[in-house]
């Protein structure tokens, strides 16, 4: 019958006696059993602990993400994140694609910061191929990466304040500035969010006429004023301080142990920034500070992002003044790139943390293995321990301040 015929039916070799269709265990029961492994406090009256699912459909889970918590009244005793609702099998598709075909797929990993994803992938494959982009391409790459960082942090400010209860007012203040950056992306790359702008050996095309002038207008005159305005409204606000200061604390030792990176690590006080620790591209030519804060609570994670926006504006100002003329691709644009066999791990400081691409090549047109080290996914290891002992209303604040994007968590 036409419905049952499968062209590739005899191409799969299963082990002996394995039937993929048989049902053997209940995954929900496994999750709830894993949740029950916590310290039970037997003092006083015996109470029941309730399991609550802050389910995949929820306005403040930033996408389809589920959190299973066990509550003692309103205090959390154990928490486990459950993900996989947006899993699109990015890594296996990466093995099917050729190298250049993978570039638009990387846009859709962290869909709010697409130029950073492109940057990491281009760095990894350029390491394998042994080529470097020309100067002008490097300056444009750095400017685009820093603009992506500003755009992501503005979106985070908006959505974190939405989660904390301020609805849409701060979000619209922040998104209005983000629209200017997205207009520049549209002029340069053709698309607002899924830019697909970087290529191996440079970038796809040069900046159009007048774009550099527009960048200078925004980043020298308009954006510093507006960021100070938003900061003035938010950082002294009593509600944000009482919901943020001292809640969801991540100590520095725990942050390193749980492999947290990015603003999550720096808000706890560890000054680790890949742009300074192991500089890539031309970041060693710019003057900027590594922003840290001392306490590691929700308020500090919000403020460290304001600091980072200011440092990114500083980098863009220097790059816009120093940018030379020249070509933007160091090799001839090719449809089928020739990549020698080997492996490479290229990492960038994305807006959410360390974004790394591990590519293994065997000389053929497609990669043999393609793995993405997603910062949002790995920062979630710290989510459980950070929330234990807090009230359930703080889960939403902590999740918002970790800054996850489901495209990256699930790939």
């Amino acid at each position: 019958m036409a419905e049952n015929s499968n062209l590739f039916d005899d191409n799969i070799a299963y082990p002996q006696g394995f039937n993929p269709e048989s049902q053997s265990f209940d995954p929900e029961k496994a999750l709830y059993d894993a949740l029950q492994t916590y310290q039970k406090n037997e003092i006083g009256l015996e109470t029941d602990h309730i399991i609550v699912n802050i389910g995949p459909q929820h306005p403040s889970t930033h996408g389809v993400f589920r959190v299973a918590v066990i509550l003692d009244g309103e205090t959390i005793v154990n928490l486990k994140p459950v993900m996989g609702y947006l899993h699109r099998n990015h890594e296996k598709i990466g093995e099917r694609n050729t190298y250049i075909m993978n570039m638009p797929y990387t846009d859709r990993l962290d869909y709010l910061a697409s130029m950073s994803n492109n940057f990491g992938y281009a760095l990894a494959v350029e390491k394998l191929m042994g080529i470097k982009p020309p100067e002008r391409a490097d300056y444009i790459r750095v400017m685009m990466a820093e603009m992506t960082r500003i755009s992501n942090h503005l979106f985070l400010i908006g959505s974190l304040l939405n989660d904390l209860g301020a609805y849409f007012t701060p979000m619209l203040y922040a998104l209005e500035e983000r629209e200017l950056i997205l207009d520049i992306f549209e002029a340069v790359a053709g698309s607002r969010m899924m830019c697909n702008f970087f290529r191996f050996g440079g970038i796809a095309r040069d900046l159009p006429e007048g774009t550099l002038q527009k960048i200078k207008e925004i980043f020298f005159e308009r954006l510093p004023r507006k960021i100070d305005e938003i900061d003035r409204f938010l950082s002294e606000n009593e509600i944000i301080r009482s919901r943020g200061v001292g809640q969801g604390v991540l100590t520095p030792e725990n942050a390193i142990r749980f492999s947290a990176t990015g603003p999550l690590l720096r808000a706890s006080g560890i000054p680790y920034d890949i742009r300074r620790a192991e500089p890539y591209s031309i970041y060693n030519r710019f003057e900027f500070d590594v922003c840290t804060r001392k306490n590691g609570d929700i308020y500090d994670r919000l403020m460290v992002r304001f600091d980072e926006i200011r440092q990114s504006i500083r980098i863009i100002q220097q790059a816009a003044k120093q940018i030379p003329e020249g070509p933007v691709m160091s090799v001839k644009p090719m449809y089928q790139v020739r990549v020698p066999p080997g492996e490479a791990y290229g990492r960038v400081e994305g807006p959410k943390g360390e974004l790394g691409f591990y590519v293994v090549s065997d000389g053929k047109p497609n990669p043999w293995r393609y793995h993405v080290r997603a910062p949002s996914f790995i920062n979630l290891t710290a989510f459980g321990p950070m929330c234990i002992g807090q009230k359930i209303a703080d889960v939403v604040g902590v999740l918002g301040s970790i800054d996850i994007v489901l495209g990256e968590v699930d790939r």
């Binding site: 070799a13 995954p27 093995e95 192991e278 492996e343 790394g356």
Partner: protein, 158 residues
């Protein structure tokens, strides 16, 4: 990632003598270990050499050579280039490797991902469940198992 620095090479090979080897495949870099020395090596890296930040754990399936490889990247939070080390296990059923969760707790979700996608079991992991393919899915999507690799190299451009 660049080849390990020569000072690092000296220190590591003198500390571990003949239990670790440099990866000499063309285009590859890093150290190759046997899985029985993994925990000891990881604890020594974290405590003596200062590599306290585990960046990523990946599994790679080399079907032609009959091996599964687990690749670890560690860095120092004081900065500088990192260290890549790999454990190769033969591709039998089941594939078992000691878990690094006791040394680097950040490995928890990443080892669950390697179990889910490739079928590598980490012994000693506190909670080894599937992470993406939760449900009654019982295959390992990224482990190569095609009898004839027609579908493997299908995409060409122009």
């Amino acid at each position: 990632m660049a080849a390990p620095l020569s000072s690092q090479t000296q220190e590591l090979s003198s500390r571990f003598s003949n239990r670790i080897n440099v990866d000499t495949r063309p285009g590859y870099s890093g150290w190759l270990l046997d899985k029985s020395h993994l925990l000891e090596f990881a604890i020594a890296l974290r405590d003596e050499f200062g590599y306290d930040y585990l960046s990523s754990i990946t599994g790679v399936d080399y079907l032609p050579e009959g091996k599964m490889e687990i690749v670890y990247q560690v860095y120092r939070t004081t900065g500088g280039p990192g260290l890549m080390f790999k454990v190769q296990v033969p591709r039998t059923d089941p594939v078992e490797v000691p878990s690094l969760v006791s040394t680097y707790p950040g490995a928890e979700l990443q080892e669950r991902e390697a179990w889910d996608l490739l079928g590598i079991k980490f012994t000693g992991h506190p909670d080894l469940r599937r992470i993406f393919y939760v449900g009654r899915f019982r295959r390992f999507p990224l482990a190569e198992r095609l009898a004839r690799a027609i579908l493997r190299r299908r995409c060409q451009t122009f």
